[in-house]
Symmetry: none
DNA sequence: CATGAATGAGTTTTCATTCAT
DNA sequence: CATGAATGAAAACTCATTCAT
């Protein structure tokens, strides 16, 4: 194992340990000390890799958010291969996969909080983002409804923010509405929004 | 001055002091000590009224969120008296007032974070909520588009979450989109959503 | 209800509340505030009846210890009516009842800690002690082995201290010996001690 | 000086400082701040070595209890070299040394409270306990009266608990009996218990 | 690069006691 | 007598950061 591999291994160990702890105990309660102990590295080592706890948190939330989005897109792509779907149906399918993913993993939902849309920041600024191609799967649907690509990005970003915000409340707090209550309304919105704007 | 008046006064003093400090220095940096000193009460008194700093914060965010919503509704009501507006125009006006309010007060936006929709929890559970009647001004618009009252509440809640999430990013972080970029897209969404659903 | 009855009722309410809280949460953790809240009286009222928390605790431990001893003696008296028992058998029966009582109520054992013998202080100094007559049931057994009454008191006191100390460790901590381990040894000691001293 | 030596030195400094303060002012009055100041270490260092004040206290009581027992055994061993003693005489000598030690140092007696027998927990669980060999000096006496080694341990443990309990009352509170009153009764018990059980 | 013991200022939290009502 | 809001000193505890090894 090379030196670079060892360094990467340390970094990964800290991220994994922190992720588990953040989920288990919450971010505020988790101290850097807890992270390094769980990761099996020295306290000083932490500062060689991260600025502070929130730097670490941001990296985790970002990567997990990206994971949720990619998973949903992946499932959409698979589904499309076997079935003919309308634009609205595809967006609903994509949205439902995100909600489902958050519901299955409530701790992850709590960690991502209302920041699922944060990953747009990365994928829009990073030319090489792996998410770039995949996200096109969804924005292409939106451009078909008459939006420019830029507009499609913003719409998707706004929508992701809405889902993220509502899912956190519904899944983590169970209030003021349940997942079962918000889902049909999100679907109904999507139907309206997906209609090609003939008058404009 | 009665004892209950004095208690209320103490509570208000602490909330006001904390609000100012939270805006000025940020929540994490502000110590409870700072709050009680600024409020001119004893440290122990704080714990007579609030569980901890975050309990206080929640109460402030809630009350300030409510303030933002009420202000926007108030302005909508005034506007309606002088001008004939379509449903979409009214919702856009209402939305723009919220965005404007957050933009004018960036520190408030940072404090509310993505929790503007939190006040729905209160107004929906509290029969005597002052917000109840006012919010009807907006949900009535939505019921005109074919939604039930309950559905209208959920739509408004979802929309508030979206605006809150996007505004925080745009106003506080300036990324990934600016306020000027998201506003037209929100408007466009509203136009689509406000259309009476003729097919359903 | 007379004023004196009301006063007594307040006192009893505080003692009962404190007893429950001391058992549930432990003495150190329980604040006077908890006690008065549970008792439904005002904070100031506490100081009208007790010097401080430890004054209250002493009164509770004393009264509960006395209860344990009296219960054991009561059962011994009942047993004696139906069965012919040797001196050693009677003392063993008495001892076992105490241990049994503590084992059944581990929280009580923790509260009494190692102070079961504390009630000797009261019964020896208080001419009117209700315990006085009952305890004679046991000391009479000891005087039959050749001890004076005073000596019998001291022996019983020492023995109670031993049982109390060992029971606390065994029941509350489970260390260094279990109840099942210490019981036979206590019995064996009693057999030896109960033998009439023929040489002395 | 190695790091481990430094760590040990720190630990010892804190224990010594705390011991002095606990004796002088009492445990409740002594703050951790007092301990660290007296020990010349930082506050945080305390929490590196002890869970809280009571963890520290437990460790002190344990080590001091062990000291008392070892001292009494040491004196017994010395005495035996110069004088022929019966089993009962040896146990009485041992017991008297413990009582003497507690009487000479009332603050220590108050600190140990009724927990002198706590050290059995350590010496029984720790294979390398220094106390292990020394305590055999006493248990060997008991095995001579017909007890197994395990039984001898339990008897000694029970007896230590009795002495500890009675001594605390007598020395610290002076009630309900004085040291002069309990001593002869303890001796008389020992005579009876030390007799080889010919009937069993 | 990695370590982890030590720091100590900073923060939270408690709670016995008072006293005006 | 009884109340309970208010106090604020005192105590416990945390934890990011450093630095000698």
């Amino acid at each position: 194992m090379s030196i670079d591999d060892k360094k990467l291994a340390k970094r990964v160990k800290m991220i994994d340990a922190a992720y588990t702890l953040f989920l288990e105990k919450g971010v505020n309660i988790t101290a850097i000390d807890d992270v390094v102990k769980a990761a099996g590295v020295a306290k000083g080592t932490f500062y060689l890799y991260f600025k502070d706890k929130y730097d670490l948190l941001d990296q985790i939330v970002l990567s997990k958010s990206e994971g949720v989005i990619r998973k949903a897109i992946g499932e959409l792509q698979k589904k499309r291969e076997t079935e003919k779907m309308s634009i609205a149906e595809q967006i609903i399918f994509f949205t439902d996969r995100i909600i489902e993913c958050m519901e299955t993993n409530k701790e992850l939902a709590a960690l991502i909080h209302k920041n699922l849309s944060a990953c747009f920041d990365v994928f829009l600024s990073d030319e090489r983002s792996l998410l770039k191609d995949e996200i096109k799967t969804v924005t292409d649907l939106l451009t078909e409804t008459g939006l420019t690509e830029r507009e499609a990005h913003i719409h998707l970003y706004l929508f992701t923010g809405m889902i993220s915000s509502a899912c956190f409340d519904a899944i983590v707090k169970g209030r003021p509405f349940t997942v079962d209550e918000i889902k049909p309304q999100i679907h109904s919105m999507i139907y309206k929004l997906a209609k090609r704007d003939v008058t404009a």
